[in-house]
Symmetry: C2
Subunit: 234 residues, 2 copies
């Protein structure tokens, strides 16, 4: 019998924020696969699960997903990973591929899921806590309440125009991967007449240099930095 | 010593999607409080945790949150609940207030959290899986991928204009509480030139009449209905 592929969101970092189902599936999985951008890179998701799941005796597989700007290189890389996964599924092994946060929020896993399903294998997606939910919890703030709307976007490509458009039509804005764009975000808020005190920075949550607090433009923030802007403070 | 108030997201319905931390805190809590809109109403969040947590021997408290359109009535109702909670905290009891999905996503709990903190008590928010993450997992679809943006909003007040504005500036739209607005959503997509096949309905997930599939305007959907519109299908 063929194995089954699980795409498992392990949450934002705190191992206690893994779901009961994620832990059960990881306990039972024969193969644990984790994505890296560079060979030998630290697997953050792997470090998280190790605190709750005994991975000794399991096959642990690093899957390289190139971030090469060339579309073709990235596609070839994905195709190789899919071949490798299907090869293991053919051997009857169940594979748990882990991903930081939630699987549906900016995760590479979703590219694989459809392709593997299309090739006739069974797959299952197990959701995880998105980092912005953990950030809001730490800040003691709602993402949205009453009739408000929420936008979630990424500043990985420094596209502040996209953020400005969102601010025009949405009540609360979550900006992920914001660490190198804090000044642009502050300037944009100034142009829109939104007080800087309406922004909350949630940075490296659960890590040593965790920071949850006001947006300060002269402060250095870690890689995992999210900004929550509320147009109206309740 | 005073007790501590925990606001705990128990996830979208599947008890396995509770976090490990939520289960641990609920196992240890002396008081479990759950919100209802009408006295004696079914507590959906309570039914979920009962499948993983033994609540016998715990004090289980129903908190009525009026949905009266009069602001003053709703505020008075909240104030009464806060007094009651603080009374129990004064007795040294730890209280776990449970909420469906995530605490930061349209939850009444956040109104209480700040007020209780302001009165000098300790509180903690524990995030949960939002229903839209579970829906996307069931549908095998990303909420957003690459550089895409996401909007999440509610159609509780039938404000289709708000949805149209979001469609103009955001790539993917999650519309919660959509069950009575399916026709308006379909018409709006027509006006915007978005094929109806770009919408996925996730309805009553985990319940008997669960439906995850295309938006069909002549179908009846349950109360917990969310629509995911993708402007561009990957």
């Amino acid at each position: 019998m063929k194995g089954k592929l699980y795409g498992i969101g392990v949450g934002p970092g705190d191992p206690g924020l893994m779901t009961i189902r994620a832990k059960e599936l990881l306990d039972g999985a024969q193969v644990i696969a984790y994505p890296v951008k560079k060979p030998g890179e630290d697997g953050t998701a792997l470090e998280i699960i190790k605190q709750k799941v005994d991975i000794s005796g399991k096959e642990v597989v690093e899957l390289l997903f190139s971030m090469n700007p060339d579309d073709e290189v990235r596609k070839r890389c994905r195709a190789e990973n899919i071949d490798r996964i299907c090869g293991m599924l053919d051997q009857g092994k169940d594979i748990a591929m882990i991903t930081l946060g939630d699987v549906a929020v900016y995760s590479t896993y979703m590219y694989l899921d459809r392709e593997v399903r299309d090739r006739g294998y069974e797959t299952e997606v197990v959701p995880g806590i998105p980092s912005f939910c953990h950030g809001a919890a730490k800040a003691g703030l709602p993402l949205m309440i009453g009739e408000e709307s929420l936008a979630v976007l990424s500043m990985a490509k420094h596209d502040i125009g996209k953020v400005e458009k969102a601010v025009d039509c949405i009540d609360n804005i979550v900006i992920m991967k914001a660490f190198a764009s804090i000044r642009e975000i502050a300037d944009m808020m100034g142009r829109k007449g939104i007080p800087l005190s309406n922004a909350t920075v949630m940075s490296n949550i659960g890590m040593e240099d965790e920071y949850v607090g006001p947006l300060e433009t002269d402060r250095k923030y870690g890689y995992f930095t999210t900004v929550l802007i509320k147009k109206k403070v309740n």
